[in-house]
Structure formats: structure tokens, C-alpha cells
Amino acid sequence: MKKICLTVVGLYFILLHAFSQVIKDSAEFKPRKLKLDEVNLVSSYYTQSGDHSAIRGGVGSEKVTDLANGIELKWVGWDGHQRKNTLTAGLGIDHHTAASQAWISKTGASKRTDGLRLYPSLDWTRENERKGSSFSLGGYYSNEFNYQSIGLSAGVTQKTKHNGEFGLKLSGYFDQVKLIFPSEFEPASTFIGTGGKDHPNYGSSPRQTYTASFSFTQIVDTRLQAAFLLDLVEQHGYLGLPFHRVYFTDGTDSVEKLPSNRFKLPIGFRLNYFLGDRVILRGYYRYYLDNWGLRAHTASLEIPVKITPFFSITPFYRYYTQTGANYFAPYGQHVKSDAYYSSNYALSSFSSHFFGSGFRVAPPKGVFGTHLSALEMRYGHYTQTTDLVSDVISLNLMFR
């Protein structure tokens, strides 16, 4: 009898302790304020040469150098409803030099052959890990001498029961193109008034871009995952650039003229496969079409090879081919009666190859035991069948 009583009492205390444990666990979650979680620095140096400058109607030097720098700060916190909040602030600063800019003047005497672009951004995401959903908002601004832009975006994602995720993002860019015409077409009124020739009063024209981006990602098995991406893009307004020339068959020239409407449909696929223990295959394909008649295929393959778990080398290759837009013709081949005309070789028919390699270092305790969590460097060489050639070297430093 005593043994039974002791056993019952013992069981009672065990049960009481177990329920106490449960109550203690659910009361332990505390909201966390936003805290700086990650800082990324990305820098690139780009150099290019070619002989089809759009400013000179499809001929002349396309020599360009560009130094692009960006910093991105990410804060992470949790609110009282156990939702993860992420705030990302970015700032980009690009400085470029372009030999062809001198030819905005008919005689090649334009003083401005360089430019600076400043582009800050702010993104906020709220993620509900229990429901597998997220909501995001973003704001962007860009300013350079001939172009200003304000952008807004909103997005949602939703995980599925079978390791998939749907995403939808809507964005809009509301831009102003400064109307800097080639000197022979610049209205005299631009240089009259305060400042005169030293501070011309350029007009501007609007451009709007609306994009709906759909994405679907799926884990296929323990080594393979895939993504499907589709954008619907609608553009209105001044879609060319005012300092691009076009030369006609009769030898006269004019400013590039393009339609004020453009609809784009790019569709992309990504496939990542972990081969063996050290090699990853990252494949990408995109088909593009628009209502200007341009059709393009893009295919790329990256093969990260893990030399050690924290050091990898990634050779890559990208192939691109496009059939030109309806409104493109080379130097001196446009007819004056054409409704639209451009000699910008970015709209011509060509193929390109882009190949190179990079490496990534990401030891668990940081590079040399510092807050530098990962370092990645990458070099690429790009050639087009239009004889445009470029090289780019990029560096990413991630701090945690």
C-alpha cells in the first residue's frame, strides 16, 4: 500500500514538473530590436573598347571605364508576433569615363567625358516563419547628370507544403531623361539666360517602367533545386537617349527616334545541382522577347569547386545571342521615311561570350579571425561579335 501511494505521489510530481516546463518554454520568446546583422561591400572595375558608338551614329570609339562601388547594410529583428523584420539600406556610387561623350559636340569638343551616378535604396521585409510567408516594400533613387529615377516596389512570397515557394513582386520606376541633344540639334534657348553656355538649361522627358515579377522555386531532392522566373515589363515615354545620332542614306543626321511604348517578356530558369561532395553545377537559361522585334537567348554555367569546405573556385561561362530590334540599322543605312530609327548596337543582332573565374573564402570564424565573414573575387572577359570587348573584375566583402 505504501509503495502504491509513493508511486502515485511520485508520478504526480513528475507530471506537475512536465507541465511547468511547457509553460516556461512558451513564455521565453522576447521581441528583438533591429540589430546590424550583415554589411556587404561590392566593388567592380570595368573597362571596354569597341568601334560602334551610338553617339556618332554607330561608328567611333566606345572606350569606357567604370568604377562601381556599393555598400549594403542589413538589420534584423523580431517583433512581438515572432515575425522576422529585415531592413536593408544600400548606397551605390559609380564613376565612369566615356570617350564617345566628347562627340555630343559635332566637333568632338564636349568638355564632359565622365559622369557620376549615385543610387541609394531601402528595403524592408517582414517574414512569418510559422506561416511560411513574407511581405516586402522597397524604395530606390538614382541620380546622374542626364538621368534621374525614383523607384518603388512591393512583394510577397509564400512557401508550399512540398518545399516550394511562390513569389510576386510589383515595381515601378518613374524616370526623367534630361534632353541633352547633339550640339547641332541643341535648341538655342538651352544656352540663353542665367549661366549661359556654362550652365545650360536642359529640358527633360519622362520614362515609366512597370514590372510584375513572378518566381517559383522548388527543392526536387536532397541535391537538386530549381527556379522559374518570369517578368512582365511595360515601358512608356522617352525610351531612347537624346544624344544618340542616326545617319541616313543621304548623309544627313538626326537624333535617334524609338517608339514610346515597349513590352518585354523575359522567362528564366535556374537549376542548381550538388554533384558528389565538392562540385556544384549552377545552370541558367533565359528566353527574351519584346514588341520591338528583339529576341534573345542567354545560357550560363558556373561550376563552384570546393577545394576545402571554406574555399571554392568558380569558373563560369555565359553565352548570349540576340536578333536585332526592328528599328536598328548600321551607320548610314536608315532611310528618312522610316518611322523609327536607331544605330545603337545594343539593339543590333549579335552574339557574345562571357567567361572567367572567381574564388570565395568563407571560414567559419571569419577571414584571419576577423569580422570579415566572406571574401569573394571574380574576373570576367566579355566579347561581342560587334567587336566590343570588355573586362570586369569584382570584389565582395561580407562582414558579420
Binding site: Y288, A296, R360, V392, N396
Partner: protein
């Protein structure tokens, strides 16, 4: 028109094939999938490369980057 119909049919087949061919993967089995190199997005170090390509090529989009607007690019 035929090309568009073919494209949509391929997309539908690819999508349904992807979803039905999947094997269930538990969280503890995701060690390879969670590797940073397996991320289904472009690397941060590629960001400026995509920008340069949007100026030099007519096509853009479907890669998480620019689709047009925000710059004097295509």
C-alpha cells in the same frame, strides 16, 4: 503565334514535371541544399556585371536584376 503556344506548353510541362517529380526532403537532409553556393539567385559579386550587360545588350530581366528603368540602360 506557334512559338508562343509552344513556349507556354513547355512552361506548363516543366512546372508540372518539377512539382510531381519531387521527393520529400526533411530539414535535416538539407545540408547540401543550404550551402551558400546552392543559392537560387545571382551572387552579390555579379551585381555590377548584370548592370554592364543591361547597357550593352537588348535583353534584361528574369534574373532578379534590372528589367529596365532606373538608369539610361535598355
Amino acid at each position: 503565334m506557334k512559338r508562343t503556344i509552344f513556349l507556354w506548353a513547355f512552361l506548363a510541362l516543366f512546372g508540372s514535371g518539377m512539382m510531381t517529380a519531387c521527393t520529400p526532403v526533411k530539414e535535416y537532409q538539407k545540408n547540401r541544399l543550404n550551402d551558400s553556393e546552392m543559392n537560387l539567385s545571382a551572387r552579390k559579386v555579379e551585381k555590377n556585371e548584370s548592370n554592364f550587360q543591361s547597357y550593352r545588350e537588348g535583353a534584361s530581366g528574369a534574373n532578379g536584376g534590372k528589367t529596365g528603368g532606373g538608369c539610361g540602360c535598355n
